[in-house]
Amino acid sequence: MMKQEKATVAGHDNFQGEYRILRLAAPAVGSLVRPGQFLELMVPRLGERILRRPFSIYKADAQGVSILYKTVGRGTDAMRAIKPGDKVDIVGPLGNGFPTLGSGKVPVLVAGGYGNAALYLKAKESPAKGIAFFGGRTAQDILCVEEFEALGWDVRPTTDDGSLGTKGLVTAAFDPWMAEQENIQALELFVCGPNPMLKAMGDRAIEHGFTAWLSMDKNMACGVGACLTCVIKRRTETGWEWARCCKDGPVFESREIIWER
C-alpha cells in the first residue's frame, strides 16, 4: 500500500559529514513502512526539473518518516533550502523492502553511503543481531554507528583512508571475517550501497552459497512501476526478464540478478 501525502517538515538539519536529515510529519506514509522501502519526494521550488527524487526511508513511525541525503546534483541541492514548516509532497512507501530473516540464519548487514540509512529499520526489526560492515571514504562517511551499536549490532567500519576501522573497501573487513565462519551457508546478508559493493557481495554469496539481499540503486522516473525506467535483468527459467527496481525491487536476491556493465 502506498500513499501520496503532503508532509510537513518537522526538522531539517546537518546530520554528519555531507549528509543532512529531513524529518517529515507524514502519518499516512509513516504508518505503512517496512524496512528497506523508499519514498519519492517532489523537491520544492525546482521548477525546471519535473521528476521526483527517490530516498530510502531511514526511520518511520505513525507520526512520519525521516530520510538522510547528500547533495549530488540539482535536486538534492535545491532540497537544502527546505525549512521546517514547509510542505513537501511525498509518495510512499515504495518497493518490496527486505524480507524477514530466514529461520536459523545469521544476519549480516553491509552498507555504504546512504545504505546505512536504508538498513536502520532492518537492523532494528531483525530478531537476531549480528555483524554490520559499513564502508565509506572517510570516517565522515560512516553514518549511524552508535545507533546500530545501541540496537545490539557489532559494527565493523572500513574507510578508504583508514580514518576509521579497517583501511580499504568493505571487503577488506568482510573477507577475513567470512573466512573464519564455520557455517558460511547460514549467513544472510542485507546489503545497500553503491553498485560495486552490491556486486562484490552478490558474487561472494553465489561463490560461497549464502544468501544476499541486495537493494539495487537505479535511476527512477515514476517510482511506482509504470514507466519501466528502472529495470534490471532478472534471471528466469528460460533466460531473463526485466524487473523494475522500484516495484519488483529494490531488493533482489543475488542469484536473481544478471549484472550489466
Binding site: 500500500m1 502506498m2 519535473i50 521528476l51 521526483r52 517510482g223 525506467t229 529495470v231 534490471i232 526485466w242
Partner: protein
C-alpha cells in the same frame, strides 16, 4: 449548476474528457493505489505489440529542463500476455480501456487487433505510428502519409471499435495526416507523441540514453503540441485527443480551446499522481465559472 463532461469517440463514451498518455500509467494497476481509476474518462495502456518484447537497454530516461527524454522502447507482455495479466484487473472498473498498439511490420498492427478484438474490456485502439524509440516501424509509419494511411486502413478492416491513430510531431504539415486519418475511417486522432531528442553527458561523452536518442515529453513541449492540435483541428472534423506537457488543469483547458475534445495526462503522472483528478475537477470548475453546459462547448473555442 450541472455540467456535462461526457465525450464520445465513436462508440466509446468517456465520462469526462481526461485519459492518460500511453506509457505513463502502466497497464492500470500501477497507480491504482494512488488514483481512483473510476474517476478517469478512459485508461490508455502502455503500447501492446503482437508478442512479448523486451524494449531498450538502460538508461531509458533522462530529465531535461522542463521535460524528460525516454527511450523505453516498447517492452511489454504482448497481446496474449496483456489479456492474461491485465484484463481481469481492468474489468473491475467502470472505465473504457484504450489499448495503444504498435508493430514492427505493418501486418503486426492487424495481428494485435485480431488478438485483442474479442475482449469486451478493450474499448478502443490507439495506433502508435510515431514512437521515436523503435528502429523498425514506429515513427517511420507516422511521417509518411502513404504508409500512415495503409496502417490505418489495415486496422480499420479488422475492428468495429473506435481507432485512434497517434500522430508524429516531427512533420511540417500535420494537417495532411489528420485528413488522411479521417479519409481512412479513423474515429479520432491523438496528438502528440514525444519529440525526437537527445542528450549527451559531456564528461563520459556517452549519450544519456542507452538507445542514444529518445523522445522529449513534459511541459517543455506543450506549446508545440497546442500548435499541432490547432493545425489538425483546422484540417479535420475528427475528435482530437490532445497531450503533451499537461501538468495543470489550465493546460488541459488550453488544449481543448485549441481543438482537442479530450486530453491525456502523461509525464505529469510521474511528477504528481494527483494530476489526473485535479485536471478533471479543474475542467469542471472552469466550465461552471464560464457558464458552459458541457465540455464539448469549449472545444476549439480559441479566437484565432
Amino acid at each position: 449548476m450541472d455540467v456535462d463532461l461526457k465525450i464520445r469517440i465513436g462508440s466509446m463514451e468517456m465520462k469526462n474528457p481526461v485519459t492518460v498518455a500511453s506509457g505513463t500509467f502502466g497497464y492500470g494497476p500501477e497507480y491504482a493505489e494512488l488514483v481512483d481509476l473510476n474517476r478517469l474518462g478512459a485508461i490508455t495502456v502502455k503500447g501492446i505489440g503482437p508478442m512479448e518484447t523486451l524494449g531498450n537497454p538502460t538508461p531509458r530516461t533522462f530529465e531535461t529542463r522542463g521535460g524528460m527524454l525516454n527511450a523505453i522502447g516498447l517492452p511489454g507482455p504482448g497481446a496474449e500476455g496483456f489479456i492474461k495479466k491485465y484484463i481481469p484487473f481492468l474489468k473491475q472498473y467502470d472505465v473504457p480501456v484504450i489499448v495503444n498498439i504498435w508493430g514492427k511490420a505493418m501486418e503486426d498492427y492487424g495481428t494485435v487487433v485480431e488478438m485483442l478484438d474479442g475482449e469486451d474490456t478493450v474499448s478502443a485502439y490507439e495506433i502508435n505510428l510515431s514512437c521515436p524509440n523503435v528502429k523498425e516501424g514506429g515513427s517511420a509509419f507516422g511521417t509518411d502519409t502513404d504508409s500512415f494511411s495503409r496502417v490505418v486502413e489495415l486496422v480499420r478492416g479488422k475492428t468495429q471499435k473506435p481507432i485512434i491513430p497517434k500522430l508524429a510531431p516531427n512533420v511540417p504539415d500535420l494537417g495532411k495526416f489528420a485528413k488522411a486519418a479521417e479519409d481512412c475511417g479513423a474515429d479520432a486522432i491523438s496528438i502528440m507523441n514525444t519529440m525526437p531528442a537527445m542528450a549527451i553527458d559531456i564528461e563520459t561523452l556517452e549519450p544519456e540514453l542507452a538507445n542514444r536518442t529518445g523522445g522529449l515529453s513534459g511541459p517543455a513541449i506543450k506549446p508545440i503540441a497546442i500548435k499541432l492540435v490547432w493545425d489538425a483541428a483546422k484540417a479535420t472534423n475528427l475528435p482530437i485527443i490532445g497531450m503533451g506537457g499537461i501538468f495543470e488543469p489550465e493546460d488541459a483547458i488550453e488544449f481543448m480551446l485549441a481543438g482537442a475534445s479530450a486530453v491525456a495526462v502523461g509525464t505529469a503522472n510521474f511528477s504528481d499522481p494527483s494530476t489526473i483528478v485535479r485536471v478533471i475537477d479543474g475542467i469542471e470548475g472552469y466550465l461552471i465559472k464560464k457558464g458552459h453546459g458541457s465540455a464539448a462547448d469549449i472545444v476549439g473555442m480559441v479566437k484565432a
